[in-house]
Symmetry: D2
Amino acid sequence: MQKITLLIHCKDQKGIIAAVTNYIACIDGNIVYLDQHVDEDEDVFFMRIECEFKNPKNDLKALEADFEQQLAAPFEMTWQLFTQEQKPKMAIFVSKYDHCLYDVLGRYRANELPLEISVIISNHRDLEPVAQQFGIPFYHVPFTKEIKVKGEEQQLEILHKYEIDFIVLARYMQIITPNLIARYKNRIINIHHSFLPAFPGAKPYHSAFKRGVKIIGATSHYVTEELDEGPIIEQDIARVSHSHSIEDFITKGRDVERMVLARAIKLHAEHKTMVYNNKTVVFL
Amino acid sequence: MQKITLLIHCKDQKGIIAAVTNYIACIDGNIVYLDQHVDEDEDVFFMRIECEFKNPKNDLKALEADFEQQLAAPFEMTWQLFTQEQKPKMAIFVSKYDHCLYDVLGRYRANELPLEISVIISNHRDLEPVAQQFGIPFYHVPFTKEIKVKGEEQQLEILHKYEIDFIVLARYMQIITPNLIARYKNRIINIHHSFLPAFPGAKPYHSAFKRGVKIIGATSHYVTEELDEGPIIEQDIARVSHSHSIEDFITKGRDVERMVLARAIKLHAEHKTMVYNNKTVVFL
Amino acid sequence: MQKITLLIHCKDQKGIIAAVTNYIACIDGNIVYLDQHVDEDEDVFFMRIECEFKNPKNDLKALEADFEQQLAAPFEMTWQLFTQEQKPKMAIFVSKYDHCLYDVLGRYRANELPLEISVIISNHRDLEPVAQQFGIPFYHVPFTKEIKVKGEEQQLEILHKYEIDFIVLARYMQIITPNLIARYKNRIINIHHSFLPAFPGAKPYHSAFKRGVKIIGATSHYVTEELDEGPIIEQDIARVSHSHSIEDFITKGRDVERMVLARAIKLHAEHKTMVYNNKTVVFL
Amino acid sequence: MQKITLLIHCKDQKGIIAAVTNYIACIDGNIVYLDQHVDEDEDVFFMRIECEFKNPKNDLKALEADFEQQLAAPFEMTWQLFTQEQKPKMAIFVSKYDHCLYDVLGRYRANELPLEISVIISNHRDLEPVAQQFGIPFYHVPFTKEIKVKGEEQQLEILHKYEIDFIVLARYMQIITPNLIARYKNRIINIHHSFLPAFPGAKPYHSAFKRGVKIIGATSHYVTEELDEGPIIEQDIARVSHSHSIEDFITKGRDVERMVLARAIKLHAEHKTMVYNNKTVVFL
């Protein structure tokens, strides 16, 4: 049994669902999941389909070419096709905070993530032992404003060497260069430690404490050139009270951060997110 | 612009989605929402479609007959078709607790519920003033084990008179007769004040307090002959602690009850629930 | 059995708890609840005590004078004493949105709020029938920038006439004058339809939709001269997704608004909130 | 600065709080946290105090003897005193599931847990590499009904050798013997994968799926001889829908399990839990 996932978006048009589902029926596929969304303001159609084939399509190239000709071209679709066997390759960028890293690696070893963690890149050496402990290649790539050209060059080289599909910033405390963002458009996931758009930028827990909020949160989003302004993938919150200190906010926040980041990684790796107009469509 | 909602379930078969979406395209409908589900254990297919017609179908009977012949018969579908204008008629059964009643009536007057509240039936006279205050017909139908045949008869008469589509038990403290359940199969919604299957039956807050739980809940479900065993529509919870008394449990629980009941009523009235195998499919 | 609640705050000093609890023991009171908080940054001490007296203190004035002399003066306390019988008198300000109003009035009639709703004031006549339906005096006080002096005057007169203790803005869409804020310092509760500090000001659901957030929220806070910047009493959130329109955000948000407002009203009426440094201490 | 935590419970009596807080003031302690609870049904008083001493009490034995004589004896208190430096020693029991183990060890290495993980005991060898990876001693102690006397003997020997203070069952799939339970009364924490009392015993996710619930949960509790009937420390839930398979329930449930277990471990290690009458008092 072969399982294929199809992501499609295009201008909304009458008959798209019929056309695509017909096509899948004609090539002997069985649809096990279909979700669609119409953005009525933008008049855009989104669809995610999972289908199964009893007789595996061994020549995927031919299938893709046929789909392009029969459907994608006439409807002017932007589309992607994934097979379940292709596990995306992920790189992790970290600095010194280790809680998200431990959480992601623990989940990886517990077989909860449908992906391959190929490499860990850090601007510090502090977390190298964690990488070693979990048997993941680790690269120390210093990065500051002064050496960002060289830093970016090294990063790109490593990402290329490991054929990385997407990048996770697990509390990485340096900016990502526009060049890297462009190369990995909608494929760099950051975790920010506030419920955006509240408290963007540095030290959000301190700001939240000062404001006297009763809930704190975390936000995972795709990285764009505007800091903390990219398309939001997932958010969650925790309740706090007057009895909590800034340190308590940070401790409680860590739990939210790791949960929200883990969910975003999983959604991305399972091809359940689509980006349009600086927003995400997340098919659960 | 005419809006039609279609609910379908049948044995899972290849090509159903294509057939139905084709049909809608052929009759000039535009699908604005489609959600489907396959119960793989039971091999059953469920679908909910909302579609819009620029040229309203004035002869719905003809449309229904055509759909039956073209699609429902060949695929052996169980199906229902609703137009947006048809607001379902709802009866409320209450006893003496008034918090759910106030909540439902307040939402109704605030135009949050796509339905018509036609009548309130109670085994006590206590809440008659509330019905009057909101201008809803009220009937006092005494009901005890001893007079349940007569009670049921009166209930059915009133339900018939007001052409009731579905019934909401807003903390109604008497049993519903098998006859009434059969007449309104999957159309009687109860709110039970625990997260079922924990604490079925009477006094769940007392049992929860005794057990020392840290969360309490409420459950809305369709009524079946087995007490508190019907298909669950919606559940939610609230956190409690050692500092809460049984009275606090009850107070906090009331908030959960009214929220969970209101959501279930709305889901049912919007034709977003389907029942199969004592479970619900809820298309959000 | 007489029940008294005591709220205290002062500079943190060694021995305060002992002194106060000793005092209560000496006057034959039994402490049934004690909660305290030290703001270590500001070095301020807060305490809330509920105590019971088998022999009621009929001369409260004498008790207060004694407490002032024995404890409040030496420790330089700011303090308040409440008996359970004194129900605070509340005024509701509304404009045209009715969902919070229905919710508060429904809870009031269902005996969930330990207070008296004395009057409803509105800058429109739309909700007068709701006030009548629930038997609460209603005053139409037009209010715009141009007539704000006259509007304020009328508001103050009505508040004075009904001896109002605190004011609830149940989605009141006009500004509150500095004069009124000063008279009811930390006694005017607003409900804002976002999780502040995200989306202050007008049309927060529209902004939240545009930003593509995955959670929306509501915030109840005491009104200060800075719009949406006052001390936060309570917040809560609801999950949203790409499939929700702005209208869906608004509908889901209404549920959060009414819940958060109801909780804030209850906390205030039970004397469980204290304000310091633009933050609240909320003793649950 | 020395920090001491005091846990007290006894029959409710007038003047206890005053007596204890007086005592602390007299020995030059500053109370930074005080929480108390009166179980009115059982007439029992609970208190947790954190206090700081600028001049450390080096002779703790003397302090304890003095407290016993001055306060504990006259009020017939059950009480415990902890200093912040004493980190409790924890043993982990596991079988084959690794997600809770990875989570606890990750948090431990990320310095989130105020305790020492001294040893891991398992009835299988599968997770030995995880223990090695994190540098924690691992013991394989086979355990079945047939060899439970020998198994228990080995377990007790290891627990004794490492001077274990409390035990965490991180999805340990064997029963704990009555003898072990008695030795570690209210010091063995289990994580059960349902919101108890719903779905006790084996395969709760399967039962939850069959019942068609809309929320699943997890419960951490102290182990007693009655399976899944011990005092509940913490619970939490996750929402599920018709679209989730049993496998999805299990995956989502793992997140709840690890969060609920981690919270319970932290609460216990920080001496924030007290047990009475098969319920917990949890001072947050």
